[in-house]
Symmetry: C2
Subunit: 337 residues, 2 copies
């Protein structure tokens, strides 16, 4: 085993969030499914933006949020994701590097014949704090196996992949390549199922990744587990998950989370949360806390508690990147970070 | 008098805020004066950005913030300011139009030989909520009298100008031109002194604008009044202000504000504020409330109370553009909007 320079390497769609508060009426008028993520093309992105209220732009991307938070806790982190050399791409790169993440994926250059701009997700936040995402993948569709730097993968204790990576076609092979390299170096591979609609799109592939041993750890919420196993019974879903993967962390909203492994199922209560302002990033931050714990020798229950604490922090304000001192927050809550 | 299509027309530097939380140590290391606004060039903007933590990008600009909030209250508003046809310029235009503001200033095109990008202010927010601003004016230096649309000025009850406009040289003539047109149509002209350092830079010109009858209403905070009259005695400053201008609103931080006119001085207590997260925009939002009142027949004390209420709202979160429903907030506090 070579040196583990990084605790976690995240691979995902590198996206800037364009966030706006809106009403339930607006979602209805636009025919949007509250709480979902849908993929849109450049034209629809322009049209929707024109109809949206004033926005804030904050770096996002599911794995990007997780990795930024992990670095904020003091974890050693790296990230692969494709941006363009435009304003949003530079902002994304600045923000992730500014928290100490190793990020060296070559940006897509504007002179490239098949250029696409940096991805953006137009996130509509309703008064109940729920977010509805409309994502234009842009440059993310250009992530390929050539972007998987072997040394970085080999030097990371855990490689964390987002299910959303299954949407841009070329990224799938990058995803599999990263898993192969990680396992060749005795590293673990984690996957988040991302979104129940994403599970609907890629169910057979996700099951194959788990059953074929491409992934060792799975993150999911209740809806994703139910979608994966096409069951309304979460306990049946968790039992199926235990048979398919060595370790799974399942978030249960207000009911906290559970950790399922060959040894059994551990349940952890939710951390107390202040008012829910914006749920964007709750799952991403849970994964950050859990992965920090897993790479620092915490037991499974403590991993889940740390994840829950970060999730509670992020839903108290707009955006999925915290500007609070996460390490300080977590220390004050009694965790040994 | 022609129709008043607009309650207030704002003219200012069209800026996108690039906001980051930082420590007092960082300000000391960078040699920055906490609470101030300094002008920087493109090179320094690049250098500082590289050293800053992760950021959020939100439309800003002093008069832009005021006008956006005035529109949020239901006021009829217009804005003149120069952006470029780049990403930040499009975001600025989108955000101000999305709240219903008439904004038609021609953007500076990227093919122009003397092109400059859209202005940005790197705002460093310390744990005490104080903001320290580093502004690269970029395209703002291209605002000229040609951008002063006569019909819009003539159709606005009040033209509101920010003192910061005195910094880009070509904007001064635009400023004077707007004042001449407004007065030719029996409109009132308001000026915010913007910042005590701005007053230091332009004291004789600001006094000349007031004494020469170019402006009828002045907005200032205590430090600006003291800087304008080179006095440590705020009462002496207010007395001098009363001699120089017909109406002045002076904000006094925790002590609320006062309104000075030929008739006397009215004092109003501060609105109760929650935790101070970021003071960016407090003065801008005060002006929004005050101007809304002034253009809707409120007495001076009520104008000042409404200004104080909006200022208290904006310091409770990051950024100077509210995503709350300001009209609803103000109605709930009992104002007739």
């Amino acid at each position: 085993m070579t040196d583990t320079r990084f605790d976690v390497l995240g691979i995902g769609n590198a996206i800037v969030d364009v966030i706006s508060r809106t009403t339930d009426d607006f979602l209805v008028r636009e025919g949007l499914v509250k709480g979902s993520m849908r993929l849109i093309d450049a034209e629809e992105a322009e049209r929707l933006y024109e109809h949206m209220g004033p926005t804030k732009e904050v770096s996002g991307g599911s794995a990007g949020n997780t990795i930024a938070a992990l670095a904020g806790l003091g974890g050693k982190a790296a990230y692969f994701g494709k941006v363009s050399d435009d304003h949003l791409g530079k902002a994304f790169a600045h923000d992730i590097r500014a928290v100490g993440v190793h990020f060296e994926t070559a940006p897509l250059m504007r002179i490239a014949p098949d250029h696409a701009p940096t991805a953006r997700s137009m996130i509509l936040v309703t008064p109940d704090g729920e977010r509805t995402m409309n994502t234009f993948l842009g440059a993310c569709t250009h992530l390929t196996p050539a972007d998987i730097d072997v040394e970085t993968v080999a030097a990371s204790k855990i490689v964390y992949l987002e299910g959303y990576l299954w949407d841009p076609p070329a990224a799938k092979e990058a995803f599999r390549e990263a898993s192969r390299i990680a396992h060749a170096h005795d590293r673990r591979v984690a996957l988040t199922l991302s979104d129940s609609f994403c599970v609907e799109r890629w169910r057979p592939e996700f099951l194959e990744l788990m059953r074929g041993g491409f992934v060792d750890v799975v993150f999911a919420n209740q809806a994703e587990v139910k979608a994966l196993y096409e069951t309304a019974d979460i306990d049946a879903g968790v039992a199926a998950l235990r048979a398919d993967v060595g370790l799974a962390a399942v978030t249960l909203s207000e009911e906290g989370s559970l950790v399922a492994s060959r040894d059994g199922v551990v349940r952890v209560a939710a951390a107390p949360a202040a008012a829910v302002v914006d749920t964007t990033g709750a799952g991403d931050l849970y994964a950050a806390g859990f992965l920090y714990g897993l790479t620092h020798g915490f037991d499974h229950a403590t991993c889940a508690e740390l994840g829950g604490l970060l999730a509670a922090e992020i839903i108290g304000h707009i955006g999925a990147r915290s500007q609070s001192d996460l390490a300080d927050l977590v220390r004050q809550a009694g965790f040994p970070v």
